[in-house]
Symmetry: C2
Subunit: 651 residues, 2 copies
């Protein structure tokens, strides 16, 4: 039925085509798929309608803010499943959709050829085909010329061959109204820069980068540390909060309730007389010093990540300037942050649901934009799961709408669904449970979950081996093989990973019975000998170098575990996006020497555009080469030397 | 942020809660889930928001045309997954949705109790709890009374116990504004009558039900056949088209192009001088005779299914009365139906996309409604995949909107996706590939596909062993064991199945090299001796009786295959909806005698509300009982006696 008739009829106006099971998608398009700018995005969909007419399908795509769609022809793969690829060139938000229609001339042409082959009289059919030509819409002048020429050839000479000309088929494909045209809903995609997927993070507490425990470290001290960190192969230097710290209810050493006169307080109690979220702690230096630090990082080809923690100290200027952003108790006192029965007396949380929330939301966005102006492009967001999800969805869209290169890392350690929910609504990267996944089955199951569909489309893990808050039990023994095993797991399984300063020194003094650091520099100023004997800096440097040299390690989702016959050894293979770099790794999860068989299975590598079997491997750390025999490798690991073996696969 | 502030702010107004992964659903609610009226519908959803406040969730449901939603509390199952059940009582279209909100008083109460337990000073907390009471909204008078009473108790005596009273918690749960209230989109569901899921179909060609080949069978002949068909245990008598047949280009015997003077023509060439889709063929009798046939079926506790085939013969009255519904060729001739290079000269198809399509759509709907008025409630729709899908979605909704007990069976043999598409858009039941699934792996894979999620929510298979169009190769040898094996597979695997008349007589004369009947009564009048020696009517009767006696066989989706160690033997277990009836079956797919082990695994049966292991089985055909030992059964099948063993499981 034509559109006008349908509109007049009051009958249902459902689409002629079913377009469904669109891949990739997150919650059927409610949330954006995440990809890297410049890389191809393969889109798939089931497309069908009634009957047997020739279907044409196109993948439509555009930047979300662009007016015009671009169109890529889709290819029928089989069983009514179609596919096409587009390539978002720049960072930003994109939309894609599927368009399908019936090509009436192509249908006529196919049926005409079948009848001709069967020897059926096609006189009338030829006239019907020619009449389709007269209904063509003028679009491209060249196509129009072909249509007119072939039509005249037919009318003057009765030439069926003219009607079957491939040139004419192409001209008509471009010149017909799209019968039954159906367009799917549109699906969002965020294209990030490569650092969203691949980076090695070094977390440090700026005030602890000095050389004397009685002196507050400064941005200048931080700058002095950069050559060493850069030499280790890190890409991101992540600073815990750098803002003024409150005095009211300031926490003392080891999180004690009463601070001594010289205790610096927790840097998460943000804001004091010196300023709030848009100020730097005076003892760290000036804003100019901070910008110098950013510049120094960039000079070392590293970038800065800042902590974005929404809470305020009781001395934060906002409590004075915007009392309506905070809730008070019946006696007029401040409502401190709490996790009943625990109370955090040095912190108050703004009220996201209060009457002046729009101003609060805007102020928080402007804080992020302020630091963007200071040269920061990565924000590690503290505890996002305790703030409203719509706030984050809005804030990330607001910031990335202006600066699509900004990366947000969600530091949410909570239940699995809210962690995935935050990733869906826009966080570029996410903290994970890796820190507590120690057994082979746990590690492999968790990686299968994160790299499966649809998780891999929205959840980019950032594996931290430790954090200022977490000294996991397995590190508390201080065994070098365990530190190496953990950093190898993090660095090789996940393309984004991080260590918190001190890990490289095997720091492991814990509060007994807890997964927390004793004498944590969250509450005091500490100094370290960064070249202390026994450190594993060379080991970390080698891992980071291997990551830089092997694109297979610069992504997380193209991962498959190998059937290594040991309950304390995990083996896996990773392939680069283009398939040209393939790396196999085995990592020991216990200290004993193990010999084992590593089956490579059907692993293939792309060489000169073709898939080839793996014939040999090169040990990335030693350079030794081994031939692959019987489809695998006999390997030996002595974790006290090195708990990991890393092999580059060769055709 | 409150709603007004948000509306004024221009900020994003996304929902506080994520409500996702709603089960059951088809294409995320684009199409309806199918269920049976009176049976419970279990709904599941992931529900979460930021923070740790107490979440409350409700399942909302209503008839699609009702004004008010009904609400069922949801239960948290774990890992942020919630569930609740509703029961659509009558046939019709329903909607369901999920509502979630935060219970502020319950949150306060939980945290207050924790602080009290930890010995924290809760003076201010008590005041805060009491202030929540003053913000309650008056709804239920009893709840209001409780709130006032407990509030006064607290104010007069400072009683914390009053604030913690469970009565008060319940009263507040019902009286607070729903903080963060979020409602999911709504999901459609169609509740059908039981016959939509469970029925044995007998297909017959009315004109072949007489007793002389030179006489056109009549509705009276059909009525005479009913006692025998009812005795076989069939529930539905399905008639091929009963309308006048065109004379122009009428097909002769064996689909020949020229009909003899006495050839009756194909009943799919609908319409002649005597009338069209709303008339009966005069030689079958009158409309009164047809109604008498319907009444006679009902008297035998059977019902009638009619064929709804949209095409017309060239003599159909519509060609005269509505020439605009049909397309003509350049020479003014009729455009016959075709499947190039094949042509069907006795049929023309109306043009669903023509300028007067709305009138055509309406006329076709009115044809269905006409037959509904004659007492027909089941329509087997011929070739629906060649008509526009929006037409079917509209027609089924129009008819079921008036008569929710009407059942539509899609006779679509086409590609898998369009077959599923038709089922999604509304067809109650669907033809399947069963007729061509003969090997064990094929059969089991196909049943796993149809009974898996989401297929089982929208695709109700109707397994036909043969049809007037299809005499499959495996039946062409006429071996009784094969006919029995096929009907046992159909009747036991699928709760809806059918045979086409002659199957019970082992009819198997084929056109050589084709899966078509020789001398098909699609093109001539035939008579049969319905009690011909060698018939398998007793076998079919026993199968249908077993189906009526065992609710496990009255549904298709609660099916699991057993690991029977034979490539030519399939074994499976089916459980009734309530779990109280469990049936195990083994069916031979080759003629040799087989002994084999049938593992029952962890199969359980519900007895007095509790799950019990299977201790014994009773052979449904012979009544013999056997104890289950070592978790299974040793069975022996001689296909020449009976290719199937059917066992009722006992606790």
């Amino acid at each position: 039925m034509n559109e006008r008739a349908q509109a007049n009829s009051g009958l249902a106006t459902a689409a002629a085509f079913h377009i469904e099971d669109i891949f990739p998608s997150v919650n059927d398009g409610r949330f954006a798929v995440k990809r890297i700018a410049g890389e191809p995005v393969e889109v798939w969909a089931d497309i069908f309608r009634n009957g047997h007419d020739v279907t044409v399908a196109a993948l439509l795509w555009k930047r979300a803010d662009a007016a015009e769609w671009q169109s890529v022809p889709m290819r029928h793969h089989g069983n009514d499943r179609w596919t096409a690829t587009f390539r978002p060139t720049d960072c930003g938000r994109y939309l894609y959709a599927i368009e399908a229609w019936t090509d009436e001339f192509a249908t006529w042409r196919r049926d005409f050829a079948r009848k001709q082959d069967a020897g059926v009289d096609v006189t009338l059919d030829a006239l019907e085909g020619a009449s389709l030509l007269t209904r063509a819409r003028v679009t491209d002048p060249a196509a129009t010329a072909v249509i007119i020429e072939k039509c005249e050839e037919f009318l003057q000479h009765g030439s069926h061959a003219s009607l079957l000309s491939p040139l004419l088929a192409d001209a008509m494909a471009a010149s017909q109204s799209k019968t039954g045209r159906t367009v799917s809903r549109s699906y969002p995609l965020v294209a990030d820069r490569p650092a969203a997927r691949f980076a090695s993070w070094y977390e440090m507490i700026p005030r602890s980068q000095g050389d004397r425990p009685d002196r507050h470290g400064t941005f200048k001290d931080c700058i002095a540390r950069l050559p060493d960190i850069a030499a280790l192969g890190f890409d991101v230097v992540y600073l815990t909060p750098i803002h003024p710290i409150g005095r009211t209810n300031r926490k003392g050493r080891n999180n004690s309730l009463v601070a001594g006169p010289d205790d610096p307080g927790s840097f998460y109690a943000i804001g004091g007389a010196e300023g709030g979220h848009d100020a730097v702690h005076p003892e760290l230096g000036t804003m100019g010093d901070f910008r110098a630090f950013v510049a120094a990082c960039n000079a070392h080809r590293m970038e800065v990540a800042l902590d974005f923690a929404v809470q305020c100290s009781p001395d934060h200027p906002w409590l004075r300037d915007h009392p309506e952003w905070f809730r008070r108790r019946p006696d007029g006192s401040m409502r401190f942050a709490e996790n009943p029965p625990k109370k955090y007396e040095d912190i108050v949380n703004p009220d996201f649901d209060g009457p002046d929330a729009p101003a609060l939301w805007t102020a928080l966005r402007d804080i992020v934009l302020f630091w963007v102006r200071q040269g920061v492009r990565i924000f590690r967001v503290d505890n996002p799961h305790t703030k409203p999800f719509p706030f984050w969805e809005w804030l990330i869209a607001e910031v990335q709408g202006r600066h699509p290169d900004v990366i947000f890392l969600a530091e949410a350690f909570t239940r699995p669904k809210p962690m995935k929910g935050l990733a869906k609504l826009g966080f570029t990267q996410s903290y994970t449970y890796f820190t507590w996944r120690t057994h082979k089955g746990e590690i492999e199951d968790y990686l299968r979950e994160l790299t499966g569909y649809p998780e891999r489309e929205f959840y980019r893990p950032n594996f931290f081996v430790n954090t200022p808050d977490i000294l996991p039990f397995h590190l508390q023994g201080g065994e070098p093989w365990m530190f190496k095993s953990r950093v190898a797991l993090a660095a090789l399984l996940s393309s984004t990973y991080g260590i918190y300063n001190g890990f490289e020194l095997l720091e492991h003094d814990a509060i007994p019975g807890k997964e927390e650091y004793a004498n944590s520099d969250k509450y005091e100023i500490r100094v370290r000998d960064w070249n202390r004997p026994g450190n594993i800096k060379d080991y970390i440097r080698a891992l980071n170098q291997a990551r830089r040299d092997n694109p297979a390690l610069q992504q997380t989702e193209r991962l498959s575990f190998a059937s290594v016959d040991s309950g304390t050894m995990t083996g896996f293979v990773k392939r680069s996006v283009d398939g040209q770099n393939v790396v196999a790794a085995a990592i020991a999860l216990s200290p004993e020497v193990q010999e084992f068989w590593f089956p490579l299975g059907d692993t293939e590598i792309i060489v000169n555009g073709g898939a080839r079997k793996i014939a040999a491997v090169e040990n990335i750390m030693t350079g030794e080469r081994h031939a692959v025999e019987w489809g695998g490798l006999r390997l030996r690991i002595d974790p006290h030397r090195d708990p990991a073996i890393l092999l580059r696969c060769l055709a």
